[in-house]
Point group: C2
Chain length 457, copies 2
């Protein structure tokens, strides 16, 4: 065992330190489509924040690059380790420490999965309302990328649902930020700064998340439109009506065809209507009261009709669940269909039609294809990009990202920049801002050990 | 005119640069009770971000301390200038640039007041839902302190309602952060870092805020309790019931007596009940639908009865408005009553009874008094502190803040640290965290020109 590895093994115990052939291939990648696996020199599985602290101070001392890993469900390569580096896997720090119903918060270790947190809160009448699609995702990973998902239109993204952190600085110092309080105005907000920093500033060892009342009644409406622009124009009207949908998704006809085929899903849309449909709007409603929900469903149905839907289907519970699950698996469908990349540009929602039209134009000009779905209420466009040639694809993505930014948006709404989109980020972002981000990185991590190659070169 | 002043006058024009006797006394202070006015060497009233940029780069070059001022309604002295410094007043940058109903955002200059923003959105069916009490407050000032207020229990604080900023760095670089997007995951969140930084990192020249549907129907319930602990125990139950109150305030009997007396307010509470009351809970409900509101009022009334309220009064519109206004003016009432300081410690809401008991014990032991009210749903306790001796008061505040932090809370929930609470902040906060905050400050403001003496020494 090399000396460096031995130092790390001393901290976590040899049983929790893998190196060489012990390192499973899974540790070498996340779900990024364009980041080939890279086997790390060693994998540490700490059990406590103190162990994480010792690992980081040792890595700083020795100049060893460190990458953190939750469940490895990220899409931008932020959990892809360096070959000369240490991967810290949070799989053993997977305890739900507290469900505090009085303060409506849960305190969890970073390795807790969303599925487990959902199960643990189920009996309390409360729920953690961030559902980025992949329930095997870890809370720690969600904090790293500021994960979003379908419910964000009502409940916000990870950033809006995390109140406090315990985090370890590269120096080995352990700090606590925020807490169980809904608000705080006492110094710079380190919680918010660490959220979405993709493992480049500090490693999170405990997360305090907000819980919301778990509402008993839910319904899902499916509205086909003959024109994608009409879908987009309907979105602000639905939001302004005060129906507070918890899901407001668009799915283009190709994506809908793919996910219904893959999942063997029948939604009861007649062929005649389906053939004229360019995109669907999926509207989720929920209420603590069944009668109120019925009223909202009726109102939403009327409104969708007024806004140009060719018909409105209130899905039965089974179909609704399957459709939402299928939508959550849209990434896997795109991957199975041979997509060469997936992107999640975010724009102001009024800019979605223009941005989508521009993205299609750019793709056509490049001899490529883009299809997709997205969080219509959030302006978060998920595109599967079909363009096998890496250089062509790089140029196309550059143009698509530039178009999103020109529309007032950003490269990523919820997947993060990671390694996959870093070149574009560095090329397109304001140099003054990039210089500031680098100074902030320096303030946390002067030795540059945390996730080098992610966000920055 | 000294040379330094002349340099600033060149940038904004002599008509917009005050110095010497031209500087009105108002520019020397905010509403902090313990920060005596200090006249700045000069006051600049820029009209554009470019002028702010030139002022800051010049100040950096010359080493002149710079303090930003909105409406001067802050309570911690963050807008109190230095005698050797430049005060930048945003009074001329007071335009509502855009009300964008499709994206449900407003884009405003920092000098816009909450009253004006409310007026400008009134006809659109949307509203900016941060009401920190003082409607003359500016949006820029609210960003500086991360202002909260009564509606935060439903809508969150400033931090949760600002999507994007234009900000000027001390170097004179102008950056844009966030935008009209509800989410973004593309590099560190500078928007959130600047919010609540009390003018120490960058000066904000444009703010993009979220708007919410303006709900047509509202009701206010007043529930007297014989025991403050019961009030506090009721709070999580009301929140868990899914009634989503937009106001959830407690007011102790002394504070209620003072505000009803000052405002000549009659709430219809019989003497017999009033005399047994230790504290009141005020519950605000709102709905887009009048019938649903009635249902919620009924449910809330039942629930309050079950939770120990001696009675429940549904206030008529006039009384309700007056009570809320009186509560918003509680600071002025405390000031008029001779309070020597006001604090706004925040704790997890379940810790409020214990914290309040401890604060009263500490006050009694010091021969002082504390009375108050607060945002019960947020754990944000507003205390008027009656303790004329400055040294005694300093020790008492230190103990009160320490008790709040020991309960998992923070020194300030929404007023900020400013100059008033800086000593306590520096004495009580984790040194590792303070060192990190200082490094972040350095990353923004290496010359240390922005609000020296605020947050740090």
């Amino acid at each position: 065992m090399p000396e460096v590895t031995a130092r790390f093994a001393e901290i976590v115990g040899t049983a929790n330190l893998l190196s060489g052939t012990e390192v499973n291939e899974d540790y070498g990648h996340d779900e990024c489509l364009t980041c080939p696996p890279r086997k790390p020199a060693s994998v540490a599985k700490p059990g406590t924040a103190a162990e994480v602290a010792a690992l980081l101070s040792t890595a700083t001392e020795l100049g060893v690059p460190v990458t953190a890993r939750g469940s490895g469900s990220g899409l931008s390569g932020a959990a892809r380790p360096r070959e000369d580096g240490l991967l810290i896997s949070f799989e053993r720090m997977n305890a739900v420490l507290e469900i505090d119903t009085a303060n409506q918060v849960a305190v969890v270790q970073p390795g807790v999965t969303l599925a487990e947190l959902d199960e643990r809160t189920a009996g309390t009448g409360l729920a953690y309302t961030v559902y980025p699609g992949e329930l095997s995702a870890s809370v720690g990973g969600n904090v790293g990328t500021n994960a979003g998902g379908m419910r964000a239109v009502k409940y916000g993204v990870t950033r809006n649902n995390v109140l406090g952190l315990e985090a370890v600085l590269p120096s080995g110092e352990i700090i606590r930020t925020g807490g169980k309080n809904a608000k705080i105005s006492s110094g710079y907000d380190l919680t918010q700064l660490i959220i979405g920093s993709e493992g480049t500033l500090a490693l999170v060892t405990e997360v305090t998340v907000k819980l919301h009342p778990r509402l008993a009644h839910a319904a899902t409406l499916l509205a086909p439109f003959t024109d994608l622009d009409e879908v987009m124009r309907a979105v602000p009207r639905i939001l302004a009506a005060g129906l507070t949908p918890n899901i407001l998704e668009y799915i283009d006809n190709l994506t809908m065809a793919a996910i219904t085929y893959t999942e063997q899903l029948s939604l009861g849309v007649p062929d005649e209507i389906r053939d004229r449909t360019q995109a669907y709007l999926v509207v989720g409603l929920e209420n603590r009261d069944g009668e109120r929900l019925d009223g909202d469903v009726e109102r939403a149905g009327e409104l969708l009709g007024e806004l140009g839907a060719t018909d409105v289907y209130v899905l039965d519970g089974g179909s609704a669940r399957k459709l939402i699950e299928a939508r959550e698996k849209a990434f896997w469908t795109a991957k199975a269909a041979g997509a060469d990349d997936v992107v999640d540009v975010v724009v102001p929602r009024s800019e979605m039609p223009g941005f989508l039209a521009r993205a299609r134009e750019l793709a056509t000009a490049a001899g490529a294809g883009v299809v997709g779905c997205g969080h219509a209420g959030d302006g978060n466009v998920h595109l599967g990009v079909f363009c096998p040639d890496p250089d062509k694809r790089h140029r196309l993505l550059h143009e698509i990202f530039a178009a999103g930014m020109a529309a007032g948006g950003a490269i990523s709404g919820e997947h993060g920049i990671g390694q996959a989109k870093k070149d574009h980020f560095l090329a397109l972002e304001d140099p003054a801002k990039l210089a500031l981000l680098r100074r902030l990185k320096q303030a946390f991590d002067p030795a540059g050990i945390l996730n080098p190659g992610v966000l920055f070169d």
